[in-house]
Structures are given as C-alpha cells and as structure tokens.
C-alpha cells in the first residue's frame, strides 16, 4: 500500500514554507508529521491538506548544549506548538532572543514563517527541515 505523504514530499513542501498534514476522512483529525494511519483512529483514509502554520506555544526550551556538528547553532529555542488544526508539532522560534526565553512564552500565539533546512550529518540520510515560528505581533 502506497504511503500517502512521504517524508520527501513533506520535506520539499516545508522547504518552500508550506506545512502539509493529513486530514482523516473518517474522524477529521489532522495528523502531522505524516503517517500511514490516522494518529487518532488509525484509519488509512486520509487526504493531504495544507496547514495554516498558526498556533500557540505549549512548551519550549533554550538549548545551550547540542549534538556533535551542530554547535554553531547554539543557543536556540525549541518549541512544541499546538497548531490551530489542533495537532502538535516540534519546531524552532525566531525573532526572540533565546537567552531571554521564559515561561511567558507558553500560551502565546505564533505563526510559521519558514522551513529551516538542517543539511544533515553522516548519520541522517540527508537533510530535514524544521518549521520555524515567530510570535504574532
């Protein structure tokens, strides 16, 4: 059975700043990142949809330590964002000084502004892309 929205296609769209997900045709829940089966009801009947990229911050951290090869990115903020389509997604925060990130971020509205490409390392089988969010004005 063919995979409806493979990593490669999801990633290519995110590189063009488009966030794709899958909408379950049985229960209506959005699954992102893509899977074979609906994350809620395990239905295989899902359709590719473009998500708004709008949501609110559920949690965050400012990283001062990272993996071998990614030290130049420090410090940076990682987020878990609840999208307005109600799915959570991991991403990064831009436009806010990572050293000042505090609990006040939680609950704030954000919008995805770009997909940031991680070019990959010797273990990663190529690149990947992180959705980058900015606080709504």
């Amino acid at each position: 059975m063919e995979y409806k929205l493979a990593f490669k296609d999801y990633n290519e769209a995110l590189k063009r700043n488009k966030l794709l997900g899958l909408k379950c045709q049985e229960c209506g829940v959005i699954t992102v990142p893509p899977k074979m089966a609906c994350r809620k009801c395990a239905s295989l009947d899902m359709a590719v949809v473009e998500l708004t990229g709008k949501g609110k911050i559920q949690t965050f951290t400012t990283c001062n330590v990272t993996s071998e090869g990614r030290e130049d990115e420090l410090p940076y903020v990682i987020l878990l964002v609840e999208l307005e389509e109600s799915a959570w997604i991991m991403g990064n925060l831009t436009g806010t000084d990572p050293t000042t990130a505090s609990m006040e971020l939680i609950g704030q509205k954000v919008r995805m502004v770009e997909g940031k490409v991680f070019s990959g390392d010797r273990y990663s089988a190529g690149e990947g892309t992180s959705p980058v969010f900015r606080l709504e004005a």
């Binding site: 990593f7 990633n11 990142p33 899977k35 994350r39 559920q58 949690t59 965050f60 951290t61 400012t62 990283c63 001062n64 330590v65 990272t66 993996s67 071998e68 090869g69 990614r70 030290e71 990115e73 940076y76 990682i78 878990l80 609840e82 799915a87 959570w88 997604i89 991991m90 991403g91 990064n92 990130a101 609990m103 939680i106 609950g107 940031k116 490409v117 991680f118 390392d121 273990y123 990663s124 089988a125 690149e127 990947g128 892309t129 992180s130 959705p131």
Partner: protein, 392 residues
Amino acid sequence: MRKVAVVGVGETKFSAAQEKTSVELFAEAAMEAITGSNLKPENVQALFLGNVLGDFSEGQGMVQAFAAENIGCRNIPANRYEGACASASMAVRDAFMWVASGFYDIVLAGGVERAAIMGTALATRTFAMFSDSRYEFPSGITFPALFAMLAHLYAARYGIPIDKLKEQMATVSVQSYHYGLFNPKAHLRKEVDVEAVLKSFMVSTPLQLHDCCPFSDGAAALILASEGAAKKLTNRPVYITGVGQSSSGPLANQQDYLPRLRAREISSQQAYDMAGVKPKDIDVCELHDCFSIASLIAAEGLGFFEYGKAGEAWMKGEAAIGGKVAINPSGGLKSKGHPIGATGAGQVYEITKQLRGEVEPERQVDGARIGLADTLGGDGGTLVNIILQRGW
C-alpha cells in the same frame, strides 16, 4: 505460565569512561550472576542482552554473540535488544517470558554500554537518535531538551511557579546523590545540596547539570530460572511477578497526555495487574530518573503520587527510605549512573539486592518485600516495568 525467579545477579561499577571493552564488562557482571547462582556457563540456555550504542562506541555490532562465547556459553541463542535506555528491561522481560512459557529453564539476561567513552558531543548526538530523526531532529532536539520541554509544560499544566518546580527538582537530585554516596557501584559519589544544583551549568532551560544523569560505562546481568530450577539453586528466590511494556510515537504526537507519558501508565498497569498488587504495596522502586523532572513524571505515572504533587512529596521525604515509597535508594540514574543498555538490568539488580537485604545499611529499605523497576526509553517511545517479590 510458570513462575520465574531471579536467582543470581551481577553488576560492574558504573563509571566514567574506562578501558574495559563491552564484552569484558558484560563478562564480569555475567560471571558474578552465574557463579552467584551456583551455576556454570554450560547451564545457561540463552542470552538476552541490552546494548544500544556499541556500533558507535566501539564499532561493535552483534555484541551478544561475542559476549556469550566469551563467557563459555557456547553456541547458545543470543539476542540483542535495542529500546534506547529501556533496552535491558526489554531483554529481562523477554527472558522472563521464554522461561515462563516453559521453553527454557535457565537463561542469562542483562545489558552493557560504554556511553561515557563516546564523549559528550557524540553521546549527545547518538542519544538524540531516540527522538524522531526525520521530523524532530532537524529542530535540534536533544535528550535534555525534550525533558526540559516537559519540565516547562509540567509547570504550566499544574500551575507550579518555575522557581518552585526547580527547587523541587533539585531536591530530587539531592536525594539521589545522597543515596549514591553509600553505593560503591555508583558513578557519581558526592554530597550535593540544593544550592549547588541551582548554581550548576544550564544545559537546556530549565534543566541544569545536576538535574541530568551522566553518560556512564557499565554492565549488569541476571540469571532467571523456572520455579523448579530456582528451588534447587537458592533458598532465597526473588520472583518476577509482573511485567509490562508499551510504546509511543514521536514526542509531539504524544500531545494528548504530555507531560504524562502514556506508555508508562499502560506498562505499569499491566505489571500491577499481573502481580495483583497496587502502587501502595510497593516498598522500593527504582525509577527512570534520567532527569530530575523525569522522576516526578515517573512517580506520578506509576501511581505513587497525584499528578502535579510529586515534587512536594519529595520535599516532604515521602519518596525517601522511610517515606511512602523508597525511590532510587541506589542513587538512581543521577548518581549510580546511566550505561543505557545496562540500566534496566541494573535496576533489577538493585531491587533483588534490596529484597534480599544485601545493600549497604545506609540505603537498605528494611523489610522490603515488593519492588518495582521502571525503565523509559527515549522520549517515552519504550516503557518497561518489572515487579519483583521475595519468594521466602
């Protein structure tokens, strides 16, 4: 199903980077378990071995086959388990099931890891492999970062000011360091106070260095035997009376439960139901404190404390020896250390020793009859629970 007992146990010291190979470390732990069970290597019918990162730390795959042959267990089936930090507990649970089923009578289970030898940068990279590599690693997720996010989420969900939560988390680390001080096999043996925790290097907000477990080298091993075989080998069998295991998807997709980890709640319920016991019956628990916040989340998920209240419990001594349940009298991952592929077997080693009354008096839980091991892999992707009870 037949009853299955832990007959003998063995463990190396957990440590910083050291020069023994994985095969050598496991051989030392395994022979302690085998000879302690009044057995010889030829009596062992199969090996179940946790090992996560041997490919990266030593360029050694398939370590289980070399480990079996090295200790004289020639030509036996040898299986390797990889479930991140819960690998050895998966191995123990499978070993249990093979003996319970009647297929084997005597098996060796355990784990080995050289996490420290890799150094912090490579270790951090490889530990990040237990998050979703396609969809979450591009954001720069690390092992501390994911628990750091759970800490902030925990504070927000339960309405705990972050400074108060940090003091609670520091108290968890202080307790673990204290017990580890009396454990000669512990990796980090030093007295650390709350002030020192709060002054330590900020790894990933809000988690500081003393909120985090170390990368350790070490091995642990257990002999499991059927009730009939165990009774011939020892008059103090420790029975495995309940086991549970569960899995979850990537962190963001656990959204309906976070900061709770659903896999733990399912896994521990399986173990409680199978053993016919409740959280209040547990005398001693070794739980997966890879980070201080992970202890709070674990103690709540295992049913010891209400959600959002575990930090207060630690501050009141309810998680200490003499409290409601003695948690991590070994020093836990924080002080005893975290050689990830061996950690779960190390927890079962500790519980077995506790139930036998064989640990140092400063950290012995007097009269302990029922113990629980809790091992978490990665971001909750793998969860294993094992309940052990005195058989005499």
